[in-house]
């Protein structure tokens, strides 16, 4: 019996050691990646972003990546933006525009996975790029709504992804039975969408259609939640 107890304690210690070692190795990787993102070449950074994207597929790593890399990734987006506005030369930008675009896309996709409320502002800035960012905002949920609404007032191209995000947020709130939040949709989101519908240029049937679809969808959800809506 004593031997059994000793064996159990030993194995327990061993597993703790092992976990610590694994964690330490990961930590080393993370530190290396941090250094690359801070000081590395663009090509090296792109590889690190891909590695992070891969690591972020494991839910357990998301918090770790968020804590260590969120500011760096945001900074990286800013530097890409700066590079595009002030490139070394026009020729350079012409040659590397596609590369930069894809690099930016990979960062945004990663941010969509890991971002929290603190990154809402940067996410909405890139909302026009697509569903990757929209999904990220949808994951953040209600706290993202004011920024989304502000953004679509400023950035016409962000309307469609914003619609996707808003629909997803509303759907989540409905599923959670959170009537209070759906009331907010009724009070502030729907009026904004209605107003935007009025301002859509006549030749942009795509945006108009999406706004109509989203409006109807959100109205339905509000109705399902038992809240009346005047927008019919």
């Amino acid at each position: 019996m004593n031997k059994l107890i000793v064996a159990v304690i030993f194995l327990g210690l061993l597993s703790t050691q092992l976990q610590e070692r694994i964690a330490r190795v990961d930590q080393q990787d993370l530190q290396r990646w941090v250094v690359v993102l801070q000081k590395g070449e663009l090509t090296e950074k792109a590889v690190v972003v891909a590695r992070l994207d891969s690591a972020a597929q494991d839910e357990q790593n998301v918090e770790l990546i968020r804590r260590n890399f969120l500011p760096l990734l945001v900074e990286e987006l800013r530097s890409i933006k700066k590079l595009r506005s002030h490139p070394p030369s026009k020729k350079w930008l012409y040659d590397n525009a596609e590369w930069l675009g894809e690099y930016q896309g990979s960062i945004l996709f990663l941010l969509g996975k890991i971002a929290d409320e603190s990154a809402v502002d940067i996410l909405v800035e890139y909302l026009h790029t697509g569903r990757g960012v929209a999904d990220g905002l949808a994951r953040i949920g209600m706290p993202a709504i004011p920024a989304i609404l502000t953004q679509i007032e400023k950035d016409y191209d962000a309307i469609i992804p914003a619609c996707i995000a808003l629909e997803a947020i509303a759907d989540n709130e409905l599923k959670r039975g959170n009537k209070g939040n759906l009331q907010l949709f009724k009070d502030s989101v729907l009026p904004t969408l209605e107003r935007l519908k009025q301002s859509v240029p006549p030749d942009d049937d795509i945006t108009l259609r999406r706004l109509q679809k989203t409006t109807l969808s959100i109205q339905n959800m509000i109705r399902q939640a038992g809240l009346e809506t005047k927008y019919r």
């Binding site: 690099y103 990757g132 996707i164």
Partner: protein, 520 residues
């Protein structure tokens, strides 16, 4: 023993020529007289010892001694009065005691060195040799107590020597092993012309003042034919570093013998100075079942020297590849490597000195018909880019298609890679169809699927979604005829966004030439 007896005879002869008339009598008479004197018991207190013989090989010489002694408090001489039966009178006798030693040093080659020494109370023979022969040396010692007798002649008033009596105390022996010198080489290998090789020369048991000469024979490598070093001071065992430059007199390939000449020895090592005129190592293509080929073209030898960077799996190719050393003088080398594990990437360096090349060996699990199947090649390409270019994706055989397409986007249109196979995701097809439906115009694909090599050639990011098979670049056309592509580009991007594109990118920097869209 013969010498010892001879010495005794000589001693007696000397006695016979003494001045005293009756001392010139027969030698046995003196012997008898000595015995009588000893039997008188006047000197029985004397104690002598023999036995200290030592021989050793110690730094830096072979040295030793053999010694005998007597007690220092015993008298070295004395007087006795004894009755002389021949003259029937009493005479005064004088005696002196000595110890003596006879030494015999025998060498490995059979020489004997003898020595004799005596003194009142201690006698020793020393031997030393600076550069002794290697083998067993022996030192023998014979130890004696000597007593010389003199008689007083009343008529002349002189003392006359009458003889010496030897007490044999015993014999001792000692031996020492002198080790044989040894020279060995480390680091001798085949080298290329122009290459440098560092050889460690280890020499043991070489005496100071002895010389080790290094010679190279066969190629004029050491200009002047060789080098040498002399052991001196504290050196007896040493390691020297010698650098050999691979050059031959005619700049042709040559076998060279490295020789070390030293006392009692001659150690040799052979190496080849390799000549290589040209070498091409083709990049090994991904193969199935752990088989790959390394092709060389040109005359000369192939010298495969290094294996590095196993990645997903340990390639475990070292022994196989090293066995190629000294390959074939002309033509192609083809080797099947049976122990390469699937999904491994290995760098093989082949060549000769500075004239070396590297090849990447990628071994993957094959698809379909195996080695001949293009998908096997493509998997190898993905693995290569995974290992060396940061690609984060690695497809399986089922990811590849030769037919995927939709109503408005054919396989041929979407496959902008180098192969007849491509990765085209269903979500891409759905997304493109929906985009087209939103857009309302034809959507020419400028870039769809790209294999990693193609992607690199066109300047794509290593992890471009085109490599994953879920991205397309759609050309922007001036569909409304206003001469401005920006509005068309925006419409196309909105169409893609409405179709759920994960990421869209317009390119004002390139004159709105196309829009990137992907569904990841």
């Amino acid at each position: 023993m013969i010498i010892r007896l001879w010495q005794r005879v000589v001693n007696q002869f000397h006695v016979k020529h003494s001045a005293h008339p009756w001392i010139r009598a027969a030698w046995w008479r003196q012997t008898l007289l000595c015995l009588i004197l000893i039997l008188c018991g006047s000197v029985d207190r004397v104690e002598a010892y023999g036995g200290a013989t030592y021989l050793d090989y110690g730094y830096p010489t072979l040295w030793g001694y053999t010694a005998t002694w007597k007690d220092p408090w015993d008298p070295d001489y004395g007087f006795i009065e004894a009755y002389d039966p021949w003259c029937e009178c009493w005479r005064l006798y004088y005696f002196a005691d000595y110890v003596s030693v006879v030494g015999d040093l025998r060498t490995p080659s059979g020489w004997d060195y003898y020595g004799y020494w005596w003194d009142f109370w201690w006698a020793a023979l020393w031997a030393w040799v600076d550069s002794p022969e290697r083998d067993w040396w022996y030192l023998f010692g014979w130890h004696y107590l000597e007593r010389d007798w003199y008689v007083y002649d009343d008529e002349s008033g002189w003392w006359y020597y009458i003889g010496t009596y030897y007490y044999y105390l015993g014999a001792t022996a000692y031996s020492a092993w002198v080790p044989w010198p040894e020279v060995s080489f480390q680091g001798v290998k085949d080298i290329c012309i122009g290459e440098r090789m560092t050889v460690q020369v280890s020499a043991r048991n070489v005496y100071p003042s002895e010389t080790v000469r290094l010679l190279l024979q066969g190629g004029a490598i050491f200009q002047g034919g060789g080098t040498e070093f002399i052991f001196s001071g504290s050196e007896q065992t040493t390691v020297r570093t010698v650098e050999i430059v691979g050059q031959t007199a005619s700049n042709q390939e040559d076998d060279v013998i490295l020789r070390a000449e030293y006392p009692y020895g001659d150690t040799r090592a052979q190496f080849t100075v390799i000549r290589l005129d040209s070498l091409q190592v083709t990049n090994a293509t991904p193969q199935l079942d752990g088989t790959y080929y390394l092709a060389t073209v040109g005359s000369g030898y192939v010298f495969v020297s290094a294996i590095t960077q196993p990645t997903l799996n340990e390639a475990n190719l070292v022994e196989d590849v090293l066995a190629w050393s000294g390959g074939e003088p002309d033509g192609r080398l083809r080797r099947r490597v049976s122990r390469a594990l699937p999904n491994s990437v290995t760098t093989v360096t082949a060549g000769c000195g500075s004239n070396s090349r590297s090849a990447i060996i990628v071994v993957v699990e094959g698809c379909g018909t195996g080695v001949d199947d293009e998908r096997t090649q493509m998997k190898g390409e993905y693995l290569y880019y995974w290992a060396f270019h940061g690609l984060n994706y690695w497809p399986v055989c089922d990811d590849f298609t030769q037919s995927a397409g939709s109503a408005h986007f054919s396989f041929v249109e979407l496959n902008t890679g180098d192969y007849s196979w491509a990765i085209i995701r269903d979500r891409l097809l759905t997304g493109l169809e929906n985009t087209r439906s939103n857009y309302g115009y034809p959507m020419p694909v400028t870039s769809g699927y790209r294999n990693p090599a193609r992607n690199q050639r066109v300047g794509g990011q290593p992890n471009s979604r085109h490599v994953y098979g879920d991205a397309a670049d759609i050309a922007v056309r001036d569909n409304n005829g206003d001469g401005d592509l920006s509005d068309d580009s925006k419409r196309l991007a909105r169409a893609a966004l409405d179709a759920g594109a994960t990421y869209t990118q317009e390119y004002p920097e390139r004159g709105y030439s196309h829009v990137h869209m992907d569904w990841r």
